[in-house]
């Protein structure tokens, strides 16, 4: 796909006014045990959106299932009005840091360059242009001096920033980030936040799995409260209320839990 074609698609989708992400009635199961029930979501464009909820609420699973990395038992996911599978070139992704082997023999620049592979297509090797673009992304996360380092020689916060730089290299319109703030130092947290805000100012939509309730109000515009189902979602000022939080964090829903157990037992 050429750059102009890609641009054409983007213009189409914006003209159509479809939301960047729409999930209809999505249910997800691990080992036949349902972990997400009947998810319905419609997210607005150009916002920073937090997905929050207790451990085991299915926050990461929501992202992975939407992206098709985890099979969906039912439901459909649309990006700008078309099935997400057809729109992947518009999507940037920051997986959880622990999802890869950081002892893998690649350099920091190699990893960031992977963000360009999608536009390179089959067999083509990254060239000068890709290298320059990757270096620009590294500069944005202040890691330009680490380009040649092997990735295991970085701190956790630096590794997280490498993943962020790789996602920036994708030049996407809709970003999914799985716990980018997990276990990072204060400097990295600030750097990541600055980049998120910059993406927003360019009209990008960023969906972030977040774990710290203290910073939700300060960092995000929009919030999805999740605990196996969507408890509430919408603008922070409307939805981020004590009552909604109690409903999200105040113990799991015993009924859903029992039902999940029953489903799993029956199908083994």
């Amino acid at each position: 796909m050429t750059a102009t074609q890609e641009k054409g698609i983007v213009e189409d989708t914006i003209a159509s006014g479809a939301p960047p992400l729409e999930i209809h009635d999505m249910t997800v199961a691990y080992q036949r045990r349902p972990v997400l029930w009947d998810i319905d979501l419609q997210l607005p464009e150009g916002r920073l959106i937090a997905i929050i909820g207790p451990n085991g609420a299915g926050k990461s699973t929501l992202i992975k299932a939407a992206l098709g990395l985890v099979p969906r038992a039912s439901g459909r996911v649309e990006v700008y009005g078309k099935p997400i599978e057809k729109q992947l070139s518009l999507i940037g992704y920051v997986p959880q840091r622990e999802s890869v082997d950081w002892d893998f023999p690649v350099s920091v620049l190699d990893v960031v360059m992977m963000g360009r592979y999608g536009r390179l297509g089959w067999f083509r090797r990254p060239g000068r242009e890709d290298r320059d673009a990757a270096m620009d992304c590294l500069r944005k996360v202040a890691l330009q001096d680490f380009a040649g380092r092997q990735i295991s020689q970085l701190s956790g916060g630096q590794q997280q920033r490498v993943f962020l730089a790789r996602a920036l290299a994708q030049e996407a319109r809709l970003y999914f980030m799985d716990e980018p703030f997990a276990g990072v130092d204060a400097a990295t947290e600030q750097a990541i936040l600055t980049i998120l805000q910059e993406l927003r100012s360019h009209g990008r939509t960023v969906v972030v799995v977040h774990h710290s309730l203290q910073t939700v109000r300060e960092y995000f515009d929009h919030v999805v409260l999740l605990n196996m189902r969507v408890v509430a979602h919408g603008p922070i000022e409307e939805v981020f209320t004590e009552e909604n939080l109690r409903n999200t964090y105040g113990g799991r829903l015993p009924l859903l839990e029992q039902a999940a157990d029953a489903v799993q037992r029956r199908s083994v």
Binding site: L88, I91, D101, P105, V106, M114, Y117, G118, R124, Q150
Partner: protein
Amino acid sequence: MSGPAPWLAVLALAAVQAALFALVGAERLLGWVQTACASAGLPYNTVMVLAGSGLLGVSSAVIGSYAVLRRRSLIGDAVAHAALPGIALAYLMARERNFFLLLLGALVSGVLGAMVISWLRQSTRTRQDAAIGLVLSVFFGLGIVLTSAVQRDPSGAHAGLEGFLLGKTAGLVSQDLLLIAVTSANILLLVWLFQKEFLLLSFDPGFAAVQRWPVPALDILMMTLLVAATVIGLPAVGVVLMAAMLIIPGVAARFWTDRLAALLPLSGAIGLGSAVGGTYVSSIREGMPTGPVIVLAAAAVCLFSMFAAPRRGIAAGVVRRLQMQERVARQNLLRSLYELVEESPDSAVTAEDVAGKRSWSVADAMKLLRRAEARGEVRRTMDGRWTLTDLGLQRALDVVRAHRLWELYLVEQASIAADHVDRDADELEHILPPEMLHQLEDRLKQKGRWPEDRVPASVHPLEGAAREGR
């Protein structure tokens, strides 16, 4: 990234090769090689054997490196062992030693073994390691039973199937070697072609999928190449040891480099060297099986790498540890000396004072003091006591500053009790990088906790100094 483009490219590659073969024919191709050898004055048979096993060594090492990096190296072992019943069955069906059919049988039963492993894992919740062990031993057992049956059969006594157990290059004819060489070359060609795709697949398949790469198809391709390398390696190396050819070169190469782009050629070179060397040695020694010799050669390289590699090697680690110990002892000495004379910088102390301050013997303290003297950090006074030189004082100040900054930070910011921080700071002061010290200074300055003089006072009473009395 979907679409048939890459698979068409692979098919075209195969078609071109098939056409070439049909046009030229294996016989004529080998004839050319023979002529070339004759004109160069090289022994044709030896050249063929070494070229075949050499290419095999490179290709199995390269594709095996990916398996090692993806923590799948034992799959190769299982496939190799699972191939044995297929070899025996292929012989029983053809009733003759058709090399191509034997390898085809190996391929079919090897792939079947791999499929059983993944079925066991997904459908019966058997764990990967158990599934591998199960398939490997059961298929191998079946293979041994079938092979013995073939050998008891009068027509099969000379089938040479026992060569597949431990590997035997001596029994291979030029056509067999040509098949091995061509397959190896194709594996290398495809790895080269799919370099970028394989890197992404190995490092982060999830990210690859989000970028629309067909991860399952790429995974199958990589697996196919691994199985192909395993199968063509069986005649030369044998089912028992084939896994070593896939695993050892990659493991050895990893010690020397942090870049996949360098690891693959290096691994290939190690595979080449050990395969050629092993084949040569086993060919000049009567009755020496090829596989074990190749494996031992590769293992020697691996052992050497493990020990001698610059950063990841054991020797480098020992050197680093010794250097660190040396630095810690030196810094502790400087800090002890400084603290002993902190109140009156011009006074001198004895080795006993120093030893008493740390848990050192007097002899150790003397040894450290003499070394410091050689560096010009301390000098002896007329009465045989020790005092810091200007240089020593300078260095001691840096050490003490780092130590006390860190202590202060722990007490002030991390609210750790003052009598606990000495030991923590003791361990960390030696490794704090300069930029972190600056950060500590800044933080303490912000909080108004930065003292006027260059070295903050200690947060806890100093044993030695207290004893000296004021």
